[in-house]
């Protein structure tokens, strides 16, 4: 499985907010993606959009609620089309299956189209350890493979890199002249990968959707690399998390409307490829073998908890990342694993364990922008709160986030907030104590016990001279309202 450094969230995010280039990249990408997403929604009207979201959510609710049934249907129909489904409990098993398929077929070269599951599995390293050359072919993935990095965004993996950094990388790794011309860089990648597509023995793809009714795998790309990976090599291996299945071909329409609009604001991506089994005897074009690997790798843990189950409705569009005030400041790498942003803060603890990723559910302002942006209406803030609650109440020392002092403080805060008298007293005392420490109404970074943990990340405002209740009584309610 891919390396998990989720415990480093706090230092990693502190470093990230000081990275000027990263901040620029995030600002450009966030506003760009979200702007085009909003335009695409306005074009079809808010009302139509809401109808689609409703419809998609119902489909996901039904499918995930009967997942075993639809996986069985999918398996039957993939087999009927001449393909083979393999089920993998965890990353180790999934990697072993791909390695075995490669070994049996004497595979030397693999081309890959973008797959977040393969990132999750750490598949490339395993194949490379078996002496196989692996080439990522999505431009963004190709860049981060050359840089030996991991994706920082669900749909734009190299979002954190500036054109200068890519130019530098290409010059060093590919021996081409340094050029910051983006068109030239895309041409360099095209030339470098063109021959690989036609030579590769095996193509590995992810899956945006799996259609149970027909046994089909659907991938959506813009570059055309997915189509080449799944048609040119002798063997096609599809990798999918087990939540990717939808019941009927008819259900696909609404997802093809929602996903590109939510991801990049496109009305549809350039290439939607639906693959059903290997090439037939009468086809001249296409792989001789088709394997589909269905991966659990912790997903049944999310499935088991009714409060977290809806995280499996996610279609990995990245819209929640593009609107999240935290992701927009710290970027994807700070989250420490494959799935960043709001949805990642739920999925990651589910897949790698709560104890590994304690900070992630807390890396949110609970503003709710993610829920509003989600094309399948996933209630992300509710689940983040649920995880925080679980952590606070956990009996497992490794999972618990709150100390006894925290609990005492929280209880005290609750008491003060529910009593007008105590609140008034607290405000007066708080103001008296904090005023001498403050500069222009705020306490900045300080070493004072208790409040230093607050002030290391944000200012602590001094309570106002006059409380809201006073102002209400004296001024705001004067006109009798």
């Amino acid at each position: 499985m891919a390396e998990v450094v989720t415990r480093q969230f706090v230092p990693a995010s502190q470093a990230a907010v000081k990275d000027v280039q990263l901040r620029q990249a995030l600002r450009r990408a966030g506003s760009g993606f979200d702007g085009t997403r909003r335009e695409a929604i306005a074009e079809v009207s808010e009302e139509v959009w809401e109808g689609w979201r409703e419809q998609a959510r119902k489909i996901k609710e039904h499918t995930i609620g009967h997942l075993d049934y639809y996986l069985a249907m999918l398996e039957r129909n993939v087999a009927a089309a001449g393909g083979q489904v393999h089920f993998a409990r965890d990353a180790r098993q999934a990697n072993a299956i791909v390695s075995e398929i490669a070994r049996r077929n004497g595979v030397k070269t693999v081309t890959k189209s973008k797959s977040m599951v393969s990132e999750e599995l750490g598949l490339n390293h395993v194949l490379e350890a078996n002496g196989i050359d692996v080439f990522e072919t999505d431009l963004g993935e190709y860049i981060i493979q050359l840089a030996e990095e991991t994706p920082s965004h669900l749909v734009a993996p190299a979002l954190h890199k500036t054109r200068g950094q890519v130019a530098q990388l290409f010059a060093e790794q590919l021996g081409v002249p340094y050029s910051e011309d983006i068109e030239e860089m895309a041409r360099v990648a095209r030339v470098a990968l063109r021959q690989k597509f036609l030579e590769a023995d095996m193509g590995v793809s992810g899956a945006n959707f799996l259609v149970a009714e027909t046994g089909s795998l659907v991938i959506i790309t813009n570059e055309g690399n997915g189509r080449l990976c799944t048609s040119a090599p002798r063997i096609h291996v599809g990798l999918a998390g087990m939540e990717k299945v939808i019941p009927s071909l008819q259900d696909l329409a609404v997802f093809l409307r929602l996903l590109p609009r939510s991801a990049t604001g496109q009305r549809i991506s350039s290439y939607v490829s639906m693959v059903t089994g290997p090439k037939r005897a009468e086809d001249e074009d296409g792989p001789e073998e088709f394997h589909l690997i269905i991966v659990d790798n912790g997903r049944s843990r999310l499935l088991r908890d009714p409060a977290l189950r809806e995280s499996l409705y996610c279609i990995r569009c990245g819209a929640c990342l593009n609107v999240c005030p935290i992701y927009q400041r710290v970027g994807g790498h700070a989250y420490g694993w494959v799935y960043p942003g709001p949805i990642g803060s739920i999925v990651t603890p589910g897949l790698v364990g709560v104890a590994e990723a304690k900070d992630l559910p807390n890396a949110s302002t609970l503003c709710g922008a993610c829920r509003d942006a989600c094309p399948v209406q996933i209630n992300i803030p509710r689940m983040l709160l649920h995880l925080r609650h679980q952590q606070a109440e956990s009996n497992d020392e490794n999972e618990r986030t709150s100390s006894d002092t925290d609990k005492l403080l929280a209880r005290g805060f609750a008491n003060v907030m529910s009593s007008p008298l105590l609140l008034k007293l607290g405000r007066t005392v708080g103001r008296a104590v904090s005023k001498p420490l403050a500069k222009s109404g705020k306490i900045g970074e300080t070493r004072l016990p208790l409040i230093s943990r607050w002030t290391q990340a944000r200012d602590l405002p001094v309570p106002a001279e006059r409380s809201f209740r006073q102002r209400w009584r004296d001024e705001l309610s004067k006109d009798g309202r």
């Binding site: 009927a80 549809i268 001249e284 296409g286 659990d296």
Partner: protein, 254 residues
Amino acid sequence: MTSANMGIPSAEFLASVRDALGRADAPPENAYEPLTDDLATLENRAIEVRERIAGELPELSRRLGETAALRGWNVTRCAGVEETLDYVVSLARRLGATSVPRSEQSVFDDVPVDAALAGVGALCWPAVYDGPDSREGIRRRLADSSMGITGADYAIAETGSVIVLPRRGLSRLVSVVPPVHVAIVRQSDIIGTLDDLFALRRLEYHQNGQSGTADMGSYLNFITGPSRTADIEQTIVVGVHGPREVHMVLLDEE
């Protein structure tokens, strides 16, 4: 060619999913609507779709042209076969194409591109394997070609997409390997929406199923505009791994 499941047995995997859901091994209590459609229902729906399309055809064709242009196609409306051939020939001239692969589709029976291109010294050839060794040879020839021509199994007005299905003659690679792709769309290829497409394909799938060979075909591919990327600084570049230039010829039959 099917080998054994190399992971855990599916029964075991599915049992663990059921266990997580707290569910018995049974179909959903309320049958899922689209999956309960019988053949008669699918047939009726397909007839409705076809009738509606026939009734709206001029409007759908107009919308297709409009949407396709927005999605990056160079859209040309040709009044007949002559005009279509002229357009294809002028494109080949501009590109200096000497070798033009095409798919083997019925549209080329009506639109004889081979002869027209031969007139300007370009060899237009159906990308068909003619022997076990020709696979690599054809791929090399495809990679060296500057333009490829296909028909459309469907063209969707809603999305501006051309759909290609498997057939003798490599339509998939013809559409994606050369840097320029020309798709010739007849009136009869045009459908309205994604829902139309899936209604028609579902009928086809289940009809095949009746004769014991349920088959979707090995692929169903959408092409919507040129190959593009925005992976470096969100700047859009066309022509990454697929064609940089795509042409949709809307053939209004005489």
